[in-house]
């Protein structure tokens, strides 16, 4: 045990050149800046964080509130500057911290907008706070030449490789389900709807294509970290990364994610590759102070934080096993698990606010309170249905001076297998507590 521990310790603390980390820093910062500009230009700041009347907060984070106009724009402006700071290595620790805080804050406002890749961004931003990615090729080293150090402990690079590998691998594990493997679902549903895509569109109507994509996607996710790690296959693997992500970008509405992954995976490349890359821009920088040892010790706080973080990362994708029922149906433990493009789910819900003793029953249309996207997301996710029911309860309590009962008649369908009753229509949702306990008020998936 001691030996293993020592070896691991040696392995993680060995001195590495900073080049891969610096490339990663710049690539990530630039991508984030581009994402923020795109988000802003599309008018999504207003659409997602200013216009809605109601926000689906995360359980335990109900205190996170949007800041309205111009507050949200200011937040995004700060986030953009922080992303630029990361890319340039300017006031790096502050930039990374500020970026992590602003980005995560925005993501916590409304789970409607949850995307695995936003979660990924939060994680990477968090990790960047702890690594000295700015100690070369950066504005900070121009400001303070003493800071310059081309040596970093290996763990500061490996942690990103590990994180990226986990994203791919868990995404692959999630695809190991019967419908994905044997029925090519949901791609069999999605691909034909993209038959108008230029060039490849014409083949998307064929069933075998959905199978080929499903299987390729599955094997890609499960194996790509290993092929990227292995020097002999790395180059071909990276070409596959490019091909895979550009294909998904052409076919699906997944925004910046493909491009973020394409540049992030560069970190798998060797020290020499990155050194050569940087030498093109900073020819004089090479090893001037290379022999300066980076501090080999890692503060205990950072160490335990990172160990805890990795443990959490390993746990979250499997927490669904703690709940009974069909994961795709109840979605208990679905988020934060790298379940990307995994199912086609749709739903419908119709709410009734009731004061039975007054014989008063009011039908409520979610579209009067929610954006189309919020409503669509709510219709398929029980925790959001419950949240909206509570929102209605509180609204009507203000309006009528008395809390009503709230019922929902809802249907959902997974992977085109036909809609079924979703939430128990006889349960008064206003009396159900939110939380991580099993949602017994979601009807079991009927065969």
């Amino acid at each position: 045990m001691m030996v293993i521990n020592n070896q691991l310790s040696y392995y993680l603390k060995q001195q590495k050149h900073i080049a891969p980390l610096a490339t990663f820093r710049v690539a990530f910062g630039v991508m984030m800046l581009a994402s923020i500009i795109r988000f802003w230009a599309n008018g999504w700041i207003s659409k997602q964080y200013i216009e809605p009347d109601f926000f689906f907060t995360y359980y335990g984070f109900d205190w996170v509130k949007p800041l309205g106009n111009p507050g949200m724009y200011i937040i995004f402006a700060i986030m953009g500057l922080a992303a630029l700071g990361i890319a340039l290595g300017a006031f790096y620790r502050y930039s990374a911290t500020l970026f992590f805080l602003t980005f995560t804050y925005v993501e916590l406002i409304d789970k409607t907008n949850y995307l695995n890749h936003y979660y990924f961004v939060s994680i990477i931003a968090f990790l960047l706070i702890f690594v000295p990615a700015h100690k070369a090729y950066s504005v900070d080293t121009l400001r303070k030449p003493n800071l310059k150090n081309f040596r970093v402990p290996a763990w500061t690079i490996y942690i990103f490789i590990l994180q990226l590998s986990m994203v791919y691998f868990f995404a692959g594990v999630a695809k190991l389900n019967a419908e994905w493997v044997f029925e090519a679902l949901p791609l069999k549903i999605w691909l034909p709807s993209r038959a108008h895509t230029p060039i490849i569109g014409s083949i998307l109507d064929y069933r075998w294509v959905a199978f080929a994509f499903s299987w390729f996607g599955l094997l890609y996710d499960l194996t790509i970290p290993f092929f990227l790690l292995w020097k002999k296959t790395r180059f071909v693997a990276y070409l596959t990364v490019i091909a895979f992500h550009f294909m998904t970008a052409a076919l699906f509405q997944i925004g910046m994610f493909p491009y973020i992954m394409v540049v992030s995976t560069l970190i798998f490349f060797s020290e020499d590759f990155h050194k050569k890359l940087w030498a093109k821009f900073f020819p004089e920088g090479e090893y001037k102070q290379a022999l300066l040892q980076s501090s080999a010790s890692i503060s205990p706080i950072t160490k335990y934080l990172l160990v805890g973080f990795i443990a959490l990362q390993l746990f979250l994708p499997f927490r669904y096993a703690l709940y009974p029922g069909k994961l795709f149906w109840t979605e208990q433990g679905y988020r934060f698990s790298w379940r990307v493009m995994l199912m086609e789910k749709a739903g419908y819900s119709q709410f009734t606010v009731a004061y039975p003793e007054q014989n008063k029953f009011i039908e409520v249309f979610p579209k009067d309170y929610l954006t189309p996207v919020q409503e669509k997301m709510m219709n398929t996710q029980p925790d959001m249905i419950l949240q909206f029911a509570h929102f209605l309860r509180d609204e009507y309590e203000i309006k009528h001076g008395e809390a009503p009962q709230v019922f929902v008649e809802s249907y959902a369908s997974v992977n085109g297998k036909g809609s079924r009753p979703f939430v128990d229509p006889n349960i008064n949702l206003s009396a159900i507590n939110r939380g991580y306990q099993n949602k017994t008020w979601v009807l079991p998936y009927q065969k």
Partner: protein, 369 residues
Amino acid sequence: MRNIKIFFSILIAALLSACDNQSGTEKVDFDREAFLVNMADEVIQPSIQDFSIKADALTSASIAFEGEQSDGNLIVLRNALKDLWLSYQHLAYVQVVPNVNLRDRVNIFPASASKIEENINTGNFVLGAASNVDAKGFPALDYLLFGTGETNAEVIAYFQQENLGSSRLQYVADLVEDIQTAADSMQEGWETYRAVFIENTGTDVGSGTSILVNEYNFQFDIRLKNAKIGFPAGGNPRTGGVLSPEKVEAYYSGWSAELAEASVLASLAVFTGESYQSGANGLGMDDYLTALSAVDRNGDDLSTAIISQTNAALEEMEKIEAPYSVVATTEGSQLVTVYNTLQAVIPLIKVDMTSAMSVSITFQDNDGD
């Protein structure tokens, strides 16, 4: 390297064997462009055309009635209203032309009689204002031509009243003009929009298919099931509610049943891509779903399920003899049965159909639920 070769050989072999069982060449065999062209030229365009012709007829009848408030002119005007209202039932499912918003413009019911009278009295109103949605369109004409007197003579007297008669006639003329304008802008808008409608054969936001499906669903769920049946029969009759017979469509003329049945028939015609003129079957949403092998929860053909469930609703409606405003005065009436049969269609069209076609509602990034 050898291991990799073996690995990929097995992979390819497995892949081929997985698809080789006669499903290998299976595909979604559907001409999406032909579908959109059929919907455009056989369903939507003739529907807009018909609505426009009938709006013209209403305008002429209104002018005649304004000139002379005879019994004959009143009857002609009423019939013109009914023809147009029936024609609208079809167009409402396919009002895909942007920026016309026909539904809110011509058929928000119940009409507010008091608001209409107030507008007439003050003469100070803008029909396009949001506050006047229930003081215009067919329901307002329904009130003015039927609700202002028990007999034809009383209605005519209402329009010939000394002080307000001319203002009342003017209000009718204004209402008809507003409808005519809507019909015209629908027709003009369609001329340029047709090309856009058939251009994108996908189902992303803005594509003809996604707009069509959303309009169809909205009309069926909100305006047929809820407005025509549910609200008068007590909101969502499943959970109980206050009976509101005054909320039926065409309350004063008593055409509610005919209009609602026309709406259900129109939904079927639109769903199956039936030619508006000839009634011939063309490529419709039903054919698309069948090509996609879409099934309901029992594994049966989804198109068939939608059609038969819609027909079941129609059968229940045909059993009703009295005007809905009378039927809706009793608890647990036949309207509740109609509501329930219509409600059974909703998950099929709003969940199963949109899911099978992957109809998108947003440009926002999405990583697949």
